[in-house]
């Protein structure tokens, strides 16, 4: 497996990850990710079709708490940490009809 990652793939992944990379960063990451993925190739080449994947070390499912009203974080304190807020809400630049 472990085909080297291409420059175009790096640019695509950067868009998925919302990272504005410079051309130099794309160049460097194409090389570095290629080396790391090549090393990881020993894993992708193994025949493990009959082995169940493990996502989490504990067999916990559906941990629930009592449905009681409890104090929560202070809204003003939380919003004070935001870069921009208005009328008790986070404020962001335009989402619709973005240029």
């Amino acid at each position: 497996m472990a085909e080297p990652i291409t420059r175009e793939e790096v640019e695509h992944v950067a868009r998925l990850a919302r990272l504005a990379l410079t051309p130099e960063e794309v160049e460097r990451l194409t090389g570095e990710l290629g080396v790391i993925l090549d090393h990881a190739g020993d894993v992708s080449a193994l025949d493990l079709g009959d082995v169940e994947p493990t996502a989490h070390p504990l067999p916990l499912v559906n941990v629930l708490r009592a449905d009681e009203v409890r104090p929560t974080l202070d809204r003003d304190e939380v919003l004070a940490a935001a870069p921009d807020a208005e009328d008790g809400r986070f404020r962001v630049p335009r989402i619709l009809d973005a240029p």
Binding site: M1, I5, E9, V10, V13, A14, L16, A17, R18, L19, A20, L21, T22, E25, L29, E32, L33, V35, I36, L37, H39, A40, D42, V43, S44, L46, L48, V51, E52, P53, T54, A55, H56, P57, L58, L60, V63, R65, L73, D74, E77, V78, A81, A82, P83, D84, F90, V92, P93, R94, I95, A98, P99
Partner: protein, 475 residues
Amino acid sequence: MSAPATDLAAAVRSGTQRARDVVEERLADIEARDPELHAFLLVLGDDARVAADAVDAAVAAGDDPGPLSGIPVVLKDNLCVRGTPTTCGSRILDGWRPPYTATVVERVKRAGGIVLGKTNLDEFAMGSSTENSAFGPTRNPHDVSRVPGGSSGGSAAAVAAGFGLLGLGSDTGGSIRQPAALCGVVGVKPTYGMVSRYGLVAFASSLDQIGPFATTVEDAARLLDVIAGPDPFDSTCIPDVPPALEPTLRDGVAGLRIGIIEELTDVDGVQQEVRAAVEAAAAALEAAGATVERVSVPSTVYGLSAYYLIAPAEASSNLARYDGVRYGLRVEAEDVATMNAATRAAGFGPEVKRRIMLGTYALSAGYYDAYYGQAQRIRTLIIRDLARVYESCDALLSPTSPTVAFEVGARTADPLTMYLSDVCTIPSNLAGHAAMSVPWGTGAENLPVGVQVLAPALGEPVMFRVAQALEEAAP
């Protein structure tokens, strides 16, 4: 051997030592020596004085402030304290003051511990040398030309330098144990789910665990006993309260069956003096009545590859929250997507970007099963292999780090070489097991060597007995 933290707590509780004096002495020491080491990102002098005075007042009034009375404790700067800047070693959290406090910090304070400051780390705990901090590297107190290890290098260095008697770090692939080994202190990664992670900034949620640094095994047990146990704010906690470790610490190792993991010990890349330390440690346990054998855990050779797919995959998801909307840095732009991408480009350092990219790729359409899926299957194999070995062993030994502390800058140019620092510590995170590093003398150039003790999930009582026996026998 004395245990500085537990001895100090006893003195403060009995009124023979004032917490305020201890704090003043530590703060003066930090002011004098930390400019060279850079263990701290933030020293909380005023808060520490107020807390120390409260402990002294409680003692004077005949109350018991608790098992950590007057002990200076340092916190890795990915643990939240309400109203106190928390950076994770990153520019992207610039100016952020958390609106809540981590459960472990609440428990330390409730037990009479004094929070002395926030310590340096690799950005978002991603690294093995503390060189990935946006605020500059930490130096090893044993040799300032060397790294302290990482990612919890600030806490390890602070405890090794005597700034704090106890420290807290987080361990996702070795980030407590490896710096403990390189700085010559005790570092523990508890069983996954034993310690609440509420208020720990998430890196890789199926692997992260908070644990103690100390100069002795007994002191580490004292701190772990304080922070362990379920928490309604963390649904991934094991629901049962674990047994206290301090009472059984000196029960000895007679009759225990110890295995040395071949694949992590007898391989290229492990320095000769590190391997010799593991051999000597095993011989000491044998002399104390344990039996020792070599064991094979074949799947551990794939641990590194599996880890460097799983951890970045989880990190790429966890770090999506740093988008310039709710906290920290924002780089203004016309529309929200451009603002997100510009903010993340400006706020994250090279290693964090590398892991976000790697993780996003490993989870992307067409590659998910070949990389992330395969890594999860390796995880199953490691759990199976370890379960088989633990049928005939009570605890295992290996090096903590393949090498002693390396020179600042020696591994920064090559990510893969840096990743190899974690090869011995990763299997315990993948399995969710307990493991700790215990100092075992010094190797080349008088640098500390650590021996790793591994135990199955909730195997802490036996693991600490082995660690205590090693400490008593160590050169």
